[in-house]
Amino acid sequence: MALMDLANPTRFLALSGRVLPWLTALALATLAVGFFLAFRAPSDYQQGETVKIMYIHVPFAWLAMFGYSLMALSALGILVWRHPLADVAHKAMAPIGAVFAFLCLVTGSLWGRPMWGTYWVWDARLTSMLVLLLLYLGLLALRSAIEDPNQAGRAAAVLSLVGFVNVPIVKFSVDWWNTLHQPASVFRMDGPTIHSSLLWPLMICAVGFTLLMLALHMAAMRNEIYRRRLRVLEARAAAEAAYA
């Protein structure tokens, strides 16, 4: 069976209906283990107990970028293959990605106050993450502003591809500019600079939040497929009523 055949809304509903409960349970179990280890992990020699914020802030930042990258891939599916499931995936990810970007900014701000002495600075990392949140919100606004769903999907796909240029800017902003935000300490060419006693809980929390995001995305995609079917049936019911 070809991969494109699997990407069929009806098959997706059948498959996701079986996978979703297990995926949700796995996400919650992984997060429970991650938080247990995070709260048993030693405090940082400089940041003290506030390092506990890292176990949620860093996954939120990674997943805000991951969500946008998935949207950019879906945008290719919309524009190149005109695949309906790509449009569904694109639309369903926007509010979820926006939530993760928002939480990244809020938790970062609450971490910054005790460590930097301020909730906010206009440095490259913070500003580029704010731009990412605004891109998510802009995509949501664009979809709701255009009545024709096909046109809205294509416009949102183009905007998300243009906006994708911001993702590497977020990632490398701490290397390209002099920022108050610390440089990368996990995904580095010379390996992580975090001690394994802090790194392991962080990675387990990151896996848990990734599974949670995928579960939320799968559920939102199912809702969107049903919503499109509902729209078709409502149009048919209205047409039948007009003939009667």
Partner: protein, 56 residues
């Protein structure tokens, strides 16, 4: 246990739990609402072409 900055740590986890919980709840409720509306239309005999004709 959480040191002098415990309120910041608790605020981070609290806001995250609240926002993610709201997102999850909204997703579940949205799904229920759409499926209920779809079920009501199908019960009235309005069906997708690929779903076949309703039984007499």
């Amino acid at each position: 246990m959480l040191g002098e900055h415990g309120s910041f740590i608790l605020a981070c986890y609290g806001v995250s739990a609240l926002v993610l919980g709201t997102l999850a709840l909204w997703t579940v409720l949205d799904g229920r609402l759409v499926r209920r509306q779809l079920g009501e239309l199908e019960a009235r005999g309005v069906r997708r072409r690929s779903a076949g004709t309703p039984e007499a």
